[in-house]
C-alpha cells in the first residue's frame, strides 16, 4: 500500500512537471528571454486598427502601433506619443505635431511627417465600403472625411495633412470636441508607409464578405513603431504572439514575448491563471477578486473612467414619457447597494452621465436619492419590460445578471411588475440601439479625457436608444461639439449635463474600476482608467 501511494505521488509530480514544461514560458526563468501570457475573452477582430472598435482588439494593436498623441501611463492626461510636442492655432483648426526624431518602424522604415500624412491620405481616400460605422466606426465618428463620397455619420472634419521634415500639420474644416482626443485613438495609429503600399483597400468589398486576409493573420505586411511587433497567430490554439522590437524609440519592453491567449469565459480565465497557464487577465468578476488576492495574485486598482446606466426609452413605453415616472424609478433603485455589493472596490454612485474626473462634470446637477416610499405611489401596479444581457461582462458592468436582479428586486419592492427579457449580448446591443427595450442597462468607457466623449455618445441628437426629444439639450450639445476652447466646452457640457439630469432620460448608476489581475511573479504595468495598459512595462520579478 505504502509503495503504491509513493508511486502515485511520483507519477503525479512527474505529470505536474511535464504540464509545467508544456506551458511554455510560465515555468522558465531564463533571465531576459521571457514570455508574458495574457488571457483574453477573444483575440483581435482585425490586426489593422482601422477596422476595429472593441477593447480586445485595441489591447493588442496598442502594443504594436503608436498614435500621434497618447495618454500618460496609468492616467488619462494627454501626452505626446509619436509627436513629442503639439500645438493648435487659436481658431482650433490647424494642429501642428512635432514628431520624435529617429523613430523606426518594424520594417526598417523611418518615421517622418510624410509617413504620418501617408496614413491620413489613406484614410481620406478609403473607398465607399468604408464610409460607414459598421466598417470603420471610429474614423467615421471622429473624422468622417472622404475624398470620394460622404460618411454615413455626416461628419467631415479633415481638410488634409501636410508634411515638412518632422512637422505634421493637420488642417480641419471645423472644430470639434473630439480633438485632440481623436489623435490618441488606437484606430488612428500610424502604420509604416511600406505597409500602406501593400494594403489594397480597393479590394475590400464590404463587411459581409469578411475582413481582408492581412487583418486575420500575421502576414508581414503590418508594421508599426510600437514596443512589440507581430510575430505569429496560432488560430488552432487561439494564441497571438508578439515579440519585442529591439529598435523601439522608448525604453525597451521588459519581456521578450507576449502571448495573448483566448479562453471561453471568466471562469476559464480564472482557472487558467490559477493553473499558471497565464500571467494575467482583465475584467475579473468582483466575486473572484478577494479570492484571487487571498491566493497571492495581484489585483491593482484602476482609476474610474466609465458609466453604467439604466435607460428609460420614452418612446417605446408611454409610461416612461412621464417625468414623474422617471423620477420615481430613479428614487426606487438603491444604487448605493449595487456599488457596495456588486461592483469592484473603488466604485461610486454616478450623479450624471460622466465620471467626476472628466471636464464638464457638474456639481450642480439634480440628484436623486433612494426613497422607495416616495416612489411607491407613482409606480405601484405598473408593468414594465426590462432587458438585460446574458453571459457577458463589460468593464462598467461586471455581472449584468446580479445588477439586473438587484434593480428588479427594487422595482418589485415598490409594486412594479417586471417583465424580464434576457438576451444574448450580440442581440442585446441592436435591441437597445433600436429602441426595442423600454428599460435596459448599458454603459460606456471613455476613449479619452473629454466630457463630450461621454455625453455626445448618447445625447447629441435624437436617438432610438433613449427616444428623448429635447431640442434645447441637443442645441447645447451641438455648441459644445463645435467649441474649440476646452474651458468654454466644459462649461457648455456642464450646462448640458444639468439639463440632462433634469430631463432624466435614464438613471446613471455607477462609475467603477474594472479589475485586472496578474500573477505574483510579474511586475504589472501601470493600470489605466481607460483600460489602455502598456504591456512593455511588464517584467518578471
Amino acid at each position: 500500500m505504502q509503495l503504491r501511494r509513493f508511486r502515485t505521488t511520483t507519477a503525479l509530480a512527474a505529470t505536474a512537471a511535464l504540464l509545467l514544461t508544456a506551458c511554455g514560458g510560465v515555468g522558465d526563468d531564463g533571465g531576459d528571454d521571457q514570455t508574458f501570457i495574457f488571457g483574453v475573452p477573444n483575440l483581435p477582430r482585425s490586426l489593422d486598427p482601422i477596422f476595429a472598435n472593441d477593447g480586445e482588439t485595441f489591447r493588442v494593436t496598442r502594443q504594436v502601433f503608436d498614435t500621434l498623441l497618447d495618454h500618460e501611463s496609468g492616467g488619462n492626461e494627454m501626452v505626446g506619443g509619436l509627436a513629442e510636442t503639439w500645438d493648435v492655432s487659436d481658431d482650433g483648426l490647424t494642429w501642428t505635431f512635432n514628431l520624435r526624431d529617429g523613430v523606426e518602424f518594424h520594417d526598417g522604415e523611418t518615421l517622418d511627417a510624410a509617413a504620418v500624412c501617408a496614413n491620413f491620405d489613406r484614410w481620406m481616400n478609403l473607398p465607399e465600403p468604408f464610409h460607414n460605422t459598421t466598417v470603420a466606426y471610429y474614423y467615421n465618428n471622429l473624422f468622417g472625411s472622404f475624398t470620394d463620397g460622404e460618411s454615413s455619420t455626416g461628419n467631415d472634419f479633415l481638410v488634409g495633412c501636410s508634411a515638412d521634415g518632422l512637422t505634421v500639420t493637420i488642417q480641419l474644416k471645423e472644430t470639434s470636441a473630439n480633438f485632440p482626443g481623436a489623435f490618441s485613438m488606437a484606430t488612428t495609429a500610424i502604420l509604416s508607409p511600406g505597409s500602406l503600399e501593400q494594403i489594397d483597400d480597393g479590394a475590400f468589398t464590404g463587411i459581409d464578405d469578411g475582413l481582408p486576409d492581412y487583418t486575420q493573420d500575421v502576414t508581414g505586411i503590418l508594421a508599426g513603431t510600437g514596443p512589440f511587433q507581430l510575430d505569429s497567430w496560432n488560430h488552432a490554439q487561439d494564441e497571438l504572439t508578439l515579440t519585442r522590437f529591439d529598435d523601439y524609440w522608448g525604453d525597451p519592453a521588459g519581456v521578450s514575448r507576449i502571448v495573448f491567449k483566448a479562453y471561453d469565459d471568466e471562469t476559464a480565465l480564472k482557472q487558467a491563471l490559477e493553473a499558471s497557464e497565464i500571467h494575467g487577465y482583465d475584467l475579473v468578476a468582483p466575486a473572484h477578486v478577494a479570492e484571487l488576492e487571498a491566493a497571492g495574485f495581484q489585483v491593482p486598482t484602476r482609476g474610474v473612467f466609465n458609466i453604467l446606466y439604466l435607460a428609460f426609452q420614452q418612446e417605446t413605453d408611454e409610461q416612461l414619457a412621464d417625468l414623474e415616472v422617471r423620477q420615481a424609478l430613479a428614487a426606487a433603485v438603491d444604487r448605493q447597494n449595487i456599488v457596495d455589493s456588486l461592483l469592484p472596490e473603488g466604485g461610486v454612485v454616478a450623479t450624471q452621465f460622466m465620471p467626476d474626473t472628466v471636464a464638464g462634470h457638474s456639481d450642480n446637477v439634480t440628484t436623486y436619492s433612494y426613497d422607495p416610499d416616495a416612489a411607491r405611489p407613482v409606480l405601484e401596479g405598473r408593468t414594465m419590460e426590462f432587458c438585460w444581457p446574458t453571459n457577458v461582462s463589460r468593464p462598467y458592468m461586471p455581472s449584468p445578471r446580479d445588477i439586473f436582479e438587484s434593480i428588479k428586486a427594487d422595482l418589485e419592492a415598490v409594486g412594479v411588475t417586471v417583465q424580464e427579457k434576457p438576451m444574448e449580448w450580440a442581440n442585446y446591443i441592436p435591441a437597445a440601439a433600436s429602441g426595442e427595450c423600454p428599460l435596459y442597462i448599458l454603459g460606456w468607457t471613455g476613449d479619452f479625457n473629454e466630457g463630450y466623449n461621454f455625453l455626445g455618445t448618447w445625447f447629441a441628437n435624437h436617438t432610438d436608444e433613449f427616444g428623448m426629444n429635447r431640442d434645447d439639450i441637443f442645441a447645447v450639445m451641438q455648441r459644445a461639439a463645435r467649441e474649440g476652447d476646452p474651458d468654454a466646452r466644459a462649461a457648455l457640457l456642464a450646462e448640458a449635463s444639468e439639463m440632462i439630469m433634469d430631463e432624466l432620460p435614464g438613471l446613471p448608476i455607477s462609475s467603477s474600476p474594472p479589475s485586472i489581475v496578474f500573477s505574483a511573479e510579474v511586475n504589472p504595468p501601470n493600470v489605466s482608467p481607460l483600460t489602455q495598459e502598456k504591456f512593455d512595462e511588464v517584467s518578471f520579478r
Binding site: P286, A287, A290, S341, E345, E405, E420
Partner: protein
C-alpha cells in the same frame, strides 16, 4: 442515467413489462392489495415513502412553510459578493443567505414546489404520450394480421431510435428549440421519457395478450378490440406505474440539469434547485453553502422516488414473493 446501450435498455424495459403477466394469476387477493401488503413490509418502501411524502407536503405547503419571501432581497445589506462576504446558516436564516441576500431556506422550500410541479407534469406528459404510442403499438401487435404488425413495427423502430439518444440530449434539444420557459422545461423533460413508457406499455401488453385468460376470452368469442381494451390494457398498467415513480426521480434531476444549463424558467429570481445550483457555482470558492443545500435536496428527493419505485417493482415481482 447510465447508458448501457439501447439493446440492454430496451431489454430491461421489456423485463419490467413481464411483471404484469405472472402476477395477475395470484388467487384470492387482488394484485394491488397483495403488492401493497408487501410494500408495507419493505423498509426500502417505507424510507422512500417517508421522503416522498415529506417532499410532497413541503412542495404543496411551501408558501405557508417558507418563513420569508423567496424572491425578496431582504438581507442584501449583509451580503457583499464583490468582497466575498457571504452569510452562512444563522438563527434567522437557518440555511444562510444567497448572493443577493435572499433567505435560502425559503428558496429551498419554494424551489421544491417548482421541482415537484415540473417532475409531475413532465412525467404525466411522458406517460400519456408514451402510453398512447405504446398502447397503439401493443394493441396493433395484439390484433395480429399484417397491418397490425406493420404499425407496431414502425412505431417501435421510431421509439428505438429515440431510445438510442441520451434522454438529457433530447431534453436539451427540445428546450433549445422552444426557448427557455417553464412549459418548455416540462415538455422537454417529458419528451425524454416518452420512448421508455411507450416501450414498456407495449411490451407489457404483448405479454398480456399471450396469457391464458386472453386466449380464453378469444375462444369464448369476445371480439379482439374488446379484449384489448377491457383485459389486456388494464392488466398492463402495473409496470407503467412503477416506471412512473422511477421517472419522477429522473424528471426532477433532469429539470434541475436543464435549469442549471440555463434552459429552465427565464424568471431568474424564481427559485428552482437547478438554477440555485448554477448560481452557487459562481461563488463556490467563498459560499459553498449555496451549492450544498440544493445539491443535497436534489439527491435526497431523487433517492426517495427511486427507493419507492424500486420497492414497488419488487412488490409487483412475483419471483421475489416469499
Amino acid at each position: 442515467m447510465n447508458l448501457p446501450g439501447t439493446a440492454t435498455k430496451a431489454a430491461k424495459i421489456d423485463r419490467l413489462a413481464e411483471l404484469s403477466v405472472s402476477s395477475s394469476d395470484v388467487r384470492g387477493r387482488s394484485l394491488w392489495l397483495e403488492a401493497f401488503s408487501r410494500l408495507r413490509r419493505s423498509p426500502m418502501a417505507i424510507v422512500g415513502a417517508v421522503i416522498v411524502s415529506a417532499f410532497v407536503i413541503v412542495a404543496v405547503a411551501a408558501p405557508l412553510l417558507a418563513p420569508h419571501d423567496p424572491t425578496a432581497q431582504l438581507w442584501r445589506g449583509d451580503v457583499f459578493p464583490n468582497r466575498s462576504i457571504f452569510v452562512g446558516p444563522r438563527a434567522e436564516n437557518p440555511l444562510g443567505l444567497d448572493h443577493a441576500g435572499r433567505d435560502l431556506l425559503s428558496r429551498m422550500l419554494v424551489g421544491a414546489r417548482q421541482s415537484l410541479m415540473v417532475g409531475v407534469v413532465a412525467t404525466l406528459i411522458g406517460l400519456s404520450v408514451g402510453a398512447l404510442i405504446g398502447g397503439v403499438s401493443g394493441a396493433a401487435a395484439g390484433m395480429g394480421r399484417r397491418l397490425g404488425r406493420a404499425v407496431d413495427s414502425v412505431l417501435m423502430r421510431f421509439v428505438d431510435m429515440l431510445l438510442s439518444i441520451p434522454a438529457l440530449l433530447i431534453a436539451i434539444s427540445v428546450a433549445a428549440l422552444l426557448g427557455p420557459s417553464l412549459t418548455t422545461l416540462m415538455i422537454a423533460v417529458g419528451a425524454a421519457q416518452v420512448p421508455i413508457f411507450a416501450r414498456l406499455l407495449r411490451g407489457s401488453m404483448l405479454a398480456q395478450s399471450r396469457s391464458d385468460f386472453v386466449t380464453a376470452s378469444i375462444a369464448l368469442g369476445v371480439r379482439r378490440p374488446k379484449v384489448v381494451v377491457s383485459h389486456v390494457l388494464p392488466n398492463s398498467l402495473g409496470p407503467v406505474l412503477v416506471q412512473g415513480t422511477l421517472t419522477l426521480a429522473t424528471a426532477i434531476i433532469e429539470a434541475a440539469a436543464l435549469s442549471y444549463l440555463g434552459l429552465g424558467s427565464p424568471d431568474i429570481s424564481r427559485p428552482e434547485w437547478g438554477g440555485m445550483l448554477a448560481d452557487a457555482q459562481r461563488f463556490l470558492g467563498s459560499a459553498p453553502h449555496m451549492a450544498l443545500f440544493p445539491a443535497v435536496a436534489i439527491i435526497i428527493t431523487a433517492l426517495g422516488f427511486t427507493l419507492l419505485g424500486e420497492a414497488m417493482r419488487e412488490a409487483l415481482d412475483p419471483k421475489l414473493k416469499k
